[in-house]
Structures are given as C-alpha cells and as structure tokens.
Subunit: 225 residues, 2 copies
DNA sequence: GTCTATACGTTGATAGAC
DNA sequence: GTCTATCAACGTATAGAC
C-alpha cells in the first residue's frame, strides 16, 4: 500500500496507547502497534506473524505469549478501535449540548468522525477494510458496534426530519452514504490533501449539512423547535 | 467476507464477458471470472492460485498457461475494470448532451457511477480495495486511470462554479468526498439496502447535487449560463 | 492446453531450554 | 516471558508427459 507504509505519528500513537492502556504487558502494546502498522501497510493476509514480531522486537514465537493467534491480535485491535470510534461519536454528540439542534449535532458528529478517521488513519484503515478477516463470532460482535455508530447518524437525521430542520427522503440511505464519505477518509488520507484533520472535519460537516438541509434554505435558517 | 461470497449474477457476468471479449481463450475468461469471485470474497492475499484454478475447473498449473503470475491475473482484472469505469463515466457525461448544465452532467455521472458500482459490486470491490497489491508499475498505470475519473467529477464541479450553478468552496475536496460516497457502494451492496442499482443512483445523484448547489436555491433554479 | 508431480520458500503455531 | 529450533501445511510457480 504505497500511501500507507508510514509509521504511526505521535498523535496517533498517543491515542492508541491511551486506548490500550489496560492491555497490561508493554510487549502486548508494542505488538498491537506493530500489528496495526503492518496490517495497514499490507492487509491482514499480507502480513505474517513474523513481520509483526520483527516490528515489535520479538522473536516469531514471542507473539503467542500475548495473543493466542494472529486473528486474536487482529480482533483486539478491531474491537478497541471500534469502541474508540463509537465513543468519539457519542462524545461529539453529547458535547453539542442537551438543547442542540439536529444540525448542530450532525455537524459535531461528522466533524469529529472525519477528524478521527484522518488522525487515526492507520488504525482506521485496518479496522474499516479488513473486517471480513475476523472469525465469524468476532465479526458479529464488532458489527454490533458498527451498527451503533450508524444508529447515531440515523437518529440525528430522523430527529431533524421530525422537527422540520432536515429534508431527508431516505434516512437510512443518506446515513449510509454519509458514513461512506467519512469512513473513506482513512483510505486516502493524508495523500491527495494538504488539510489537517480538523479542516477536513469542517469540510465534511458542511457537506453533510447540505445533504440533509431542506432545498431552498440554509440549515441554520431552518425552522427550529 | 460474509456479504461477498455470492457469485456473479447474470447481469454482472454479461458485463464482464463483454469487456473481456478480447481475452481470446475461453479458459482465460473463466479464470478471470473465477479470480474476481475469489478476490472479492477473500482479498488478493487471502486467495490462492489453487482457489482460482479450482473455481475455473483447472488444475493448479492451468493458471500459468494463461497468466504469467497471480499478480498479472489481478492486473488484467484491475485494468479492464478501471477502463470500464472510466468509459461509463465519460459516456454518462456525453449522453447528457453538449448543451447540458453542470447540474445535469453531475446528476448523470453520479447516477451512472453509483449504479455501476452496485451492479458490478463484486468486480468493483476487487478493483477498489485491493489496488495496493499491484506491482508498483501496474499500480502507477491503473492510478492514471483513476485520476481521469476524478478529473471528470472535478471538471463538472469547476464548470458549475464558473457558471454560477454551483457553490463549491473546495472543488478538489468535494470531488474526493463525492467519489468516496459512490465508490463505497461496492463495499456494502447489496446488504443494507433493498434498492436497485438505478434507485441508488438516483439517491446518490440527488445527494451530490445538494452538496454542490448554492445554499438557498435548488440546483435547477440556479442562475444558468 | 491440460495434466501430474514436484520444487522450495513461507506460513501460523508449538516444544522445550533458559 | 523470551528465546532457538522445529513442524506440518500451504503458498507460487515450474518441469515434463500426454
């Protein structure tokens, strides 16, 4: 993956380290970071356990002290990554306040998720695009988290429609399209763009509001409640 | 890939057969179809040449009569797929007529590309998401085709801005976001949706026009040229 | 063009010393 | 917890008969 063999930048690594804090052994953390880099660069099947062990400074056998299998290592990364993503979305929505309009909540969530995908693009690439490599049981578990993320966006769109702030004929289809747009950032960022994650978040939030706003009015001018 | 182990449906197969018509030997066609199915289901690295040979009804060695390597088989699929995609975009734009407005052209291209990604979702999944598995030389070649597809969208957006039909502060960023939305259809279709490719095309074309239209006016009511 | 047989590196994972 | 050594299976690709 030409644009994805870059290592984790400091901001990204800090985010991961925080999230993986409870993964007791330092070696387990190093393995997860090494695995994220390798999986992002070459995909799950394109990465050998030797690759991962090398990057983490361990022997090939060292992996199996901390993880029962390659799939389990991948599963841990995927699970934590999705939990982080969901938390980011919920926090962004909550931060816009209890009296926030649907437009404000949509802006907050889309901006946060977009910036998140950009900032953590290495991790995001792994957890967004290699998902089918999980075992069936783990796939189901992670998919439940994904559905919660979709539900956040769907809920905001539906609320906006109910209050008259939005004009969205197909809430489910629009939510899916919107999340496609946001998620795909991880695939190309930072190539093709000189923008910061925050700038990108603002652009995508604007686009999302345009997608949801009634024709003929600005979202901000829409009838509130 | 739970949602991707479905075989090629008749419409899809016909499209492929047409496109691969010049691939002389019938066995070569069977191999390409078999490879598309296998790559879509398990990814490039997750697919063995034995898998492909089996699906095509050949022995493991049979592959190498028609393709020098697994990568070359993948490259042929990827190249033809991108050529088809680009042609589809150019034809859609041309079909909207020489005097078409930017809005009409945007609608035509987005609808066509979205329907294309849905209809050929098996092939599209392979050529959109396994691209980094190409050799560096082949990657560069295919990327040139991708840039042409991006250029079509960028051109329409820029024309619309110049004529006053559109209000797009960031043409490049918006084109990228728009193509992300469209491309990602291949990843999830037909799960999560009971819509036909054509219905989906109309929805996405509407969303694209909302993204580009000036705030406060319908695209169709925008000042013309 | 297709087969059988096979070369030979790599893979995920384990055994057992330290 | 980490290592060295190793296994059995599988990977891509080739040789040579038909």
């Amino acid at each position: 993956m030409p644009q994805s063999d870059a290592g984790l930048d400091p901001a990204q690594e800090q985010g991961l380290v925080e999230a993986w804090d409870r993964a007791a052994a330092p070696a387990a953390r190093r393995l997860m970071i090494a695995a994220v880099e390798a999986f992002a660069a070459r995909g799950y099947h394109g990465t050998s356990t030797r690759d991962i062990a090398d990057r983490a400074g361990l022997s090939p056998a060292g992996v199996y002290v901390h993880f029962a299998s390659k799939e389990e290592l991948f599963y841990r990364i995927t699970l934590v990554g999705h939990q982080q993503t969901l938390r980011s979305a919920l926090e962004a929505e909550a931060a816009s306040g209890p009296a926030a309009s649907a437009a404000e909540r949509l802006r907050a969530v889309v901006a946060a998720q977009t910036a998140f995908e950009a900032r953590h693009h290495t991790t995001a690439r792994v957890i967004e695009y290699d998902l089918p490599c999980l075992s069936p049981e783990h796939f189901i578990e992670v998919n439940a988290l994904r559905r919660q993320i979709t539900a956040v966006v769907r809920g905001i769109l539906a609320d906006g429609v109910k209050s008259g702030e939005f004009d969205v004929p197909d809430v489910d289809g629009t939510a899916l399209a919107l999340l496609s747009m946001v998620t795909d950032v991880a695939r190309w960022f930072p190539a093709n763009s000189r923008q910061t994650p925050e700038q990108l978040g603002r652009l995508y939030a604007d686009l999302a509001l345009r997608m949801a706003a009634p024709h003929g009015t600005r979202a901000a001018d829409a009838p509130g409640h």
